[in-house]
C-alpha cells in the first residue's frame, strides 16, 4: 500500500489502513518518543496519543508533506507536551507533599534489584531532564539525528529548515548538553 492509498484508507476510517500505519510507523514513532521521555512505558503512552491524534485529525492532513514527516512532527510535539505536563505534576506533588505529610506514600524497596532499578530510573530521568532543558528546536534536531539516525537533509524537511541550520542546531545541542552535565556534576558534588 503506497502513501496515497494509505491516507485515503485512513480518511475513510478503514481498520486495515490503521493496521498498516501501525505496522509501518509504530517503531519510528515509539523510538522518537523514547528519545524524549527516556522511559519505555511513557514512550508507549505518548505513541498511543500520537496514533489517536492521527485518527482524529487525519481529515485536516492536507498531504503537503509525506505522512512520515507529519508523524515525526506529531511525535515530537506530543513528547514535549508530555514532559511539560509531567514536570508540572511533579512540581504540584512536591508542593502538596510540603503541606500534607502523608507517610503512607513512601515505598521502600523490597528486593535487591530495587536499588539498581532505581539507579537506572534516576539515570533515565536525568537524561530526559537534561534533554528537556535544551531549546525546543535543538531537542528535536538532536533526537532525530541520534535516536532516529536521520540525515541533516531529512531533519531539515521535518523541521522546515535548511541543512546547515540543522548542523548548527546539533552542534549547539551537543555543547549545551555537555555544559548541563558539568553543571549537574558540580551541583551533585
Amino acid at each position: 500500500m503506497n502513501d496515497d492509498l494509505l491516507i485515503k484508507g485512513l480518511k475513510e476510517r478503514r481498520e486495515q489502513a490503521f493496521t498498516t500505519l501501525l505496522a509501518r510507523f509504530r517503531p519510528r514513532v515509539v523510538n522518537t518518543c523514547f528519545g524524549f521521555v527516556r522511559n519505555e512505558q511513557d514512550a508507549e503512552e505518548v505513541a498511543q496519543d500520537v496514533f489517536l491524534e492521527v485518527y482524529q485529525s487525519i481529515d485536516k492532513f492536507n498531504g503537503q508533506v509525506p505522512i512520515h514527516v507529519w508523524l515525526y512532527r506529531l511525535s515530537m510535539q506530543k513528547s514535549i507536551d508530555f514532559i511539560r505536563t509531567k514536570t508540572r505534576k511533579k512540581r504540584w506533588s512536591g508542593f502538596k507533599n510540603f503541606f500534607i505529610d502523608n507517610e503512607n506514600t513512601w515505598q521502600l524497596p523490597t528486593d535487591s534489584d530495587a536499588s539498581s532499578n532505581m539507579e537506572q530510573k534516576e539515570l533515565s530521568e536525568l537524561l530526559a531532564t537534561v534533554i528537556s532543558r535544551l531549546p525546543e528546536r535543538q531537542q528535536k534536531a538532536f533526537i532525530l539525528s541520534r535516536n532516529e539516525g536521520l540525515s541533516n537533509a531529512e531533519i531539515g524537511t521535518i523541521l522546515n529548515t535548511s541543512e546547515s541550520a540543522v548542523e548548527s542546531l546539533i552542534t549547539r545541542a551537543n555543547k549545551r548538553l555537555r555544559e548541563l552535565l558539568y553543571n549537574y556534576y558540580h551541583n551533585r558534588s
Binding site: 517503531p27 523514547f34 489517536l52 536525568l126 555537555r178 552535565l181
Partner: protein, 115 residues
C-alpha cells in the same frame, strides 16, 4: 583527579545520549492502540455533529444564565429596600409611614375645595 572523574562522568552520559538504545515498542502496543481507536469510533459522532453539539451546549448555557437573572414581572418580588430606592429616585414619600395617608387625604380635600 576530581577533574578526571568529572570528565568521565560527563563523557559516559554524553555517550548514552549520543548512542541511545533503540526502542520500537511491542506488538501488544499495536493491539492496545487499535482497541483505543475502536473505542473512540464507537463513542464519537462525526466531527460536524460534534461541533454542532458544542454550539448547542454553548447556546443552552447562555439561555440558562439569562434566565437566572431574568425577573418575571408577574412573579417578581421587590424587597423593601428596592421600594425605598424607587421612592427616593422619584422624590416620593414612603407610604409605610401612616401619617402620609392623611397628608394625601388633606391634599385631595384642598384640591377639591379649590375647585
Amino acid at each position: 583527579m576530581k577533574k578526571k572523574e568529572q570528565d568521565l562522568f560527563v563523557e559516559s552520559l554524553m555517550n548514552q545520549l549520543t548512542h541511545p538504545p533503540h526502542y520500537g515498542g511491542s506488538a501488544a502496543l499495536d493491539e492496545k492502540i487499535m482497541t483505543a481507536i475502536q473505542n473512540q469510533n464507537s463513542y464519537t459522532f462525526s466531527p460536524y455533529l460534534r461541533q454542532l453539539v458544542g454550539w448547542a451546549a454553548m447556546v443552552m448555557f447562555v439561555i440558562n444564565i439569562s434566565l437566572f437573572f431574568y425577573k418575571d414581572p408577574a412573579n417578581s418580588y421587590i424587597d423593601d429596600q428596592e421600594i425605598e430606592q424607587i421612592l427616593e429616585n422619584y422624590q416620593l414619600t414612603s407610604a409605610s409611614d401612616w401619617q402620609n395617608y392623611f397628608s394625601v387625604d388633606e391634599l385631595e380635600t384642598t384640591i377639591t375645595n379649590e375647585e
